[in-house]
């Protein structure tokens, strides 16, 4: 999705980079472009700060989920029960 070597990117593009950056998948050059964009774009600054906040919430150790293998095991057992009942 990168558009050549332009220093100025559109808001749409900036948001895309910002999203990627939340998962540490933005390249160095992309980050430079994002930061330049943020200097002059208030709306994207707002989006960016919200986005970062959201990422921080998910980093919280209390936000937990059952891991996939355990879930698969649960599915198996539930299926077994279902067939027993039928």
């Amino acid at each position: 999705m990168s558009t050549g070597n332009k220093i100025f990117v559109s808001c749409e593009n900036a948001n895309h980079i910002c999203d990627k950056n939340q998962y540490k998948e933005a390249s160095f050059w992309e980050k430079v472009k994002l930061n330049i964009h943020l200097i002059y774009c208030k709306a994207c600054r707002k989006y960016s700060s919200k986005n970062t906040k959201l990422t921080k919430l998910f980093k919280d150790p209390k936000v937990i989920s059952i891991n996939q293998s355990a879930k698969d095991a649960m599915k198996e057992q539930l299926k077994k029960k279902m067939s027993e009942l039928e």
């Binding site: 895309h16 999203d19 990627k20 959201l54 919430l57 209390k62 989920s65 059952i66 539930l78 009942l85």
Partner: protein, 184 residues
């Protein structure tokens, strides 16, 4: 009259994390919480006939889960409570009748509030994820909570990377909005 349908095949994908977070706040043990969630699904399966469709599936499952949690505490208390000797009472005037424990300064008390907030955050987040469209919810939680690679998710759902980022973007926007309402 709107009726809610019930479909056990989708339960685990849709509700297990929400129920799990709900439970872990109350029992504080991963293993036990996971067992209770599992038991809830089994119990739900057994009494599916009684589901009248008045409440949503999730509300119905939560009400079963609540029973399961109460049962769990009943069970562990009936084993332990009988043998417990209550010698903690003190009888020196002012504090008479207080438990010894109550008189000890609690080092955790200062951040008790922060802790409660944190535990509820998990519920709030999974609640918001539950409100996303199903595909979005699955992709978003795979990417954000379980930390899968972009490529792995793309392969699994057979979508392109830019497709994935659009979905993530929409999910993130919706999540921020939802959490703003229910959390901040």
């Amino acid at each position: 009259m709107p009726t809610n349908t019930i479909d056990p095949n989708t339960w685990i994908d849709k509700y297990s994390d929400y129920l799990f977070n709900y439970t872990i706040v109350r029992v504080d043990d991963r293993e036990i919480a996971q067992d209770l969630v599992q038991e809830t699904f089994f119990a739900g399966l057994k009494s599916m006939k009684n589901f009248k469709g008045e409440a949503s599936e999730r509300t119905w499952l939560i009400s079963i889960l609540k029973r399961k949690i109460i049962d769990h505490y009943r069970k562990i208390n009936s084993n332990k409570g009988k043998a417990e000797v209550r010698i903690n009472y003190t009888n020196d005037g002012e504090t008479e009748g207080d438990w010894l424990e109550e008189r000890v300064a609690d080092p955790f008390d200062q951040n008790a509030e922060g802790k409660i907030e944190n535990t509820e955050l998990g519920i709030a987040i999974h609640n918001c994820i539950g409100k996303l469209p199903e595909k979005q919810a699955r992709i978003f939680s795979m990417k954000t909570i379980q930390g899968f690679d972009t490529e792995a998710i793309c392969n699994e759902f057979d979508i392109t990377a830019s497709n994935l980022w659009v979905i993530i973007h929409r999910a993130r926007t919706a999540m921020a909005e939802c959490l703003e309402k229910n959390w901040f």
